[in-house]
């Protein structure tokens, strides 16, 4: 299975747990949405405290935690979105 490099962004509580705003990670290129959520926690165990309470966005679009296959490309931007509090 292909592995590609993506940029991963952390915000708010996620940023505090990770200790930084941005990182690079290698990830399989065609995971399902649900798998992607799991893979992110596997790669960044620091996110364990919020494992059921974040959303992922790929290139600024939310990804559903579903069986649907996501196709990642080199340099894509993945973001960990803890519960939001705007408004």
């Amino acid at each position: 299975m292909d592995v590609i490099n993506v940029t991963i962004l952390f915000f708010a509580k996620g940023r505090e747990l990770r200790g930084q705003r941005e990182d690079q990670t290698a990830i399989i290129s065609q995971p399902s949405g649900a798998d992607l959520y799991k893979l992110v926690v596997d790669k960044f165990p620091c996110l364990e405290p919020i494992r059921d309470h974040f959303a992922l966005a790929l290139n600024e679009e939310y990804i559903e935690k579903s069986d649907q296959i996501i196709t990642l490309s080199e340099g894509d931007q993945l973001a960990v979105i803890p519960p939001i509090s705007g408004g």
Binding site: A55, P83, I84
Partner: protein, 158 residues
Amino acid sequence: MGMNRIEILSCPLNVDKAVEFVTSPTSGAISMFIGMTRNNFDGKKVIKLQYEAYTSMAEKELNKICQHIREKWTVEHICIYHRIGQVIYDIVNILEVPVTEASVVIAVSSPHRQESLEAVHYAIDSLKASVPIWKKEIYDEGDSIWKENKECHWTVTT
């Protein structure tokens, strides 16, 4: 032609500017919503508010909200301002009067009032559910908390 103005700003929000932006000779109605933050929660004193935003995505999500509004209602102009950055309260004044600051201002103009009234209601509900902006409250006793909107579906169920 209807215009959208979306701004994520690190300065105090200006209600008048939002009204001015949406004012139009062809719109008889302006509806607005202002979300206020306070420096006093459940008896705790908030000495600092810290906003964080995934700005590029937040702007995209706000644009989607504008698009959805235009699909559902006949409105003219839409203006959405959201506060980010830090708000540091004057600790001496906090003891006197709780301070309120606008964290969000939404203004919509329309020829018929029903349309902008419904559009503004929809806009704030959607914003709370999907726009990646966060707010942390820092209290005078040194503790702090990231707030979570109950409208956000991945929030810890309470």
